[in-house]
Amino acid sequence: MDAIILQILNGLDKGSAYALIALGLTLIFGTLGVVNFAHGALFMIGAFCAVTLSRILTFSHTIIDESRTDFLGNPLKVQVPYVQDFFGEAAGATIIDWAVPLSILFAIPVMILVGVVMERGLIKHFYKRPHADQILVTFGLAIVLQEIIKYFFGANPIPTPAPDAFRGSFDFGVLLGFEANQIIYPYWRLVYFAFAAVIIGGVFAFLQFTTFGMVVRAGMADRETVQLLGINIDKRFTIMFGVAAAVAGLAGVMYVPINPPNYHMGMDFLVLSFVVVVVGGMGSLPGAVLAGFLLGILESFASMKEVIDLVPGINQIIIYLVAILILLTRPRGLMGRKGVMED
């Protein structure tokens, strides 16, 4: 039982990441009809917003410490961050420690800007082009973005830990009435889950309760009609692209303490997020979220030792297997609408 609960927790956590990426992807599908292969790259850029901010915060000047030596035997150069000069050592250290949560504030404008520039500068010209062209251009863009990040940050993962207060784990099982040490869960993963819930809720509320959202939803259903009504749907779609980029970016920012980011993390998530979107049903926001969590949980169950012993290799293929089964039983995914992306 406790093992099951543990894996459900893990699944919810993984699912949060899947759902957040898929949400933006399906938003772009639904509103703009664009197959965006650069969406994974947006997730990656978000993650590197966090890295960049922590680099900025630790921007340092060098002092020479004569008492210690470096690997060549010369006096050790010690880096002192400017932040510590400005705010004092303790306050400076705290600010650096909180770099990841602070990056949210930094990432939102950056990501919206990236999204809008991408849409206006490139994607806009591809609305009426075949999906094949969209794939080629967004894939090219993804590679370029990836290589730019690699040029500045290298290929290796970059450790970017959570603030001290959220590091480590606590006994979740005790809260549920289990014995101690049965369900240990890291704080940051719960933060991530809560954060994802807030973002998902926010996007839904935005689309549900604002006139802007109403128009966008109407546009997703029938673009031409809305245009006939004289509403400038294109401008709204640009903003939606910015929102989708911001959602992916924030998913990336908050993900860095879970796994150190590297330049190809976007590609690692790209295929998976497409599978999630399609399993959920093309253009369906609730579908994407549902499928994200479903696949996250199933993946977690499939990685249990007992399951692998029963079916060797199941952990390798579970996501794809489930995707195939769902698509064969439900032609348009879990919650897909007819006629979206079927040609």
């Binding site: 690997f71 290929a155 993963r189 150190p260």
Partner: protein, 447 residues
């Protein structure tokens, strides 16, 4: 089938006639030397095949730096690096057999196909006489097989799987790097000292060849000293989040977690394990411990503070105090501004070893070089007295057991050497079961 009308590098006689008819000065490039890509009188070309794209790109970049340094030293540039400390004093900075060393580079992409394509282009287009490099066993085995067929020497870079000099060994291939068995043999006594003999281990193993051989090696050496293996779970190579594999560990009754992971897998699984509080946990009344059999300092950086206090093994580390290592660190550090990685070290040493073997053999012919390398004993290259064993072309030398440092002084100072396990302790018989099933075959001169 075995009867061949064309020799491997046959000669197109009609071409000569055509050329002559056109009045173009023509000659036939005959292979009097009798081996592939015999170098000319002035220069010799080596092929450095390293991952330049993909997850191991930084490691590949470090290998490339080491190769450039080695070429510089062989050609008499720089401070000579390890040349003065090398026990064999055949190399004098005048290139190899008086020929200036030149090199070509390629990108393995850490894919066996791409690596072979790149190696073939070096052999076919650039006339490389020796191929070296790589950062994974899959690539090493694939390229080694290719070099065997083509008739050039392969000096592998970073490859840790037993198979490289075990079931997939080849007569033209040589490995300086250590292997899974050696990691197990070196780690076991240290782990016994630190954690006792009554331990229950939980293995997470990358689900591919290297993972299998490493798990097997660590299991057999830890079980031999009394540890029990509670479970061994295979994880997909493409896995990025290991939470669902890590979370059940504490419930399993295990008190040690062994992460048979490398590269990005290792960084993420270790990060996740620490996140889940395994470092602070107690199990069976003991402190819970984590072990990473193969450490790479470059990659360990990605795991940040999570490596602190965690044991593992490594082929070489820049903080070694012997003369050879110091000389190498000095010339590498002076040129590039940071210390070399173990991948850089093994690549540098392999290049020197090859050059020296050619020098001693007096010929570039692969079979002559192989003969010179087989059973060669040397010292001064950083790992103490070393033997290139003739039976399987594996180097036998000291293995380092390291631990993540508690108070690093710099971003490079992540590991501290706990023990230098002498070569004797990690030596095994050539027919050891973990290495069974392959044959070197005959060396191939190609052409």
């Amino acid at each position: 089938m075995t009867k061949s009308n064309l020799t491997r590098r046959g000669v197109l006689r009609s071409g000569a006639i055509a050329g002559a008819a056109l009045g173009v000065p023509t000659y036939l490039r005959a292979q009097e030397s009798g081996f592939t890509n015999a170098p000319g009188d002035s220069s010799v070309t080596l092929g450095f095949n390293v991952p330049q794209t993909g997850p191991y790109a930084d490691e590949g970049a470090d290998e490339l730096r080491a190769y450039e340094l080695a070429v510089e030293h062989l050609n008499g540039g720089g401070d000579g690096g390890m040349l003065p400390t090398f026990s064999s004093q055949e190399l004098d900075g005048s290139g190899i057999l008086g020929r200036k060393v030149e090199y070509v580079t390629g990108d393995t992409q850490t894919k066996s196909d791409a690596a072979r394509a790149s190696a073939r282009s070096m052999i076919e287009k650039d006339g490389a006489i020796m191929i070296t490099g790589g950062s994974s066993s899959g690539v090493a085995v694939a390229v080694q097989a290719l070099c065997q067929e083509a008739g050039v020497i392969f000096m592998s870079g970073l490859t840790h799987s037993n198979d490289t000099t075990g079931k997939d060994k080849r007569a033209n291939g040589f490995r300086h790097f250590f292997n899974s068995y050696m990691s197990g043999a070196a780690l076991a006594p240290v782990l016994q000292n630190a954690y006792g003999t009554d331990r229950k281990a939980y293995h997470l193993t990358a689900d591919y060849n290297w993972g299998y051989t490493t798990e097997e090696a660590i299991r057999s050496s830890t079980e031999a000293m009394g540890w029990e293996t509670v479970a061994a779970v295979k994880t997909p190579l493409t896995q990025t989040d290991f939470s669902s594999y890590i979370a059940p560990v504490l419930q399993s009754g295990a008190d040690v977690l062994v992460l048979n992971h490398y590269g990005g897998n290792m960084v993420n699984s270790l990060t996740n394990a620490v996140q889940f509080g395994l470092r602070e946990a107690t199990a069976n009344g003991k402190q819970f411990e984590i072990v990473v059999p193969l450490y790479s300092r470059l990659m360990a950086r990605g795991a940040g503070e999570n490596v602190k206090g965690i044991f593992g093994s490594t082929n070489w580390h820049w903080s070694l105090q012997d003369e050879g290592s110091q000389a190498f660190v000095k010339s590498f550090g002076t040129k590039y501004g940071f210390p070399p990685s173990q991948a850089a070290h093994t690549c540098y040493v392999q290049t020197l070893l090859y050059a020296d073997a050619v020098q001693r053999a007096g010929s570039f012919a692969p079979c002559a070089v192989a003969e010179a390398l087989e059973g060669f004993e040397f010292d001064g290259l950083g790992n103490g007295p070393t033997l290139y064993r003739a039976e399987d072309h594996q180097c036998f030398k000291d293995v380092l057991v390291v631990r993540g440092k508690e108070n690093p002084t710099s971003e490079f100072d992540l590991l501290e050497i706990v023990e230098v396990t002498p070569a004797d302790q990690v030596t095994y018989a050539p027919d050891h079961p973990q290495f069974a099933g392959g044959a070197l075959g005959d060396c191939n001169n190609g052409a």
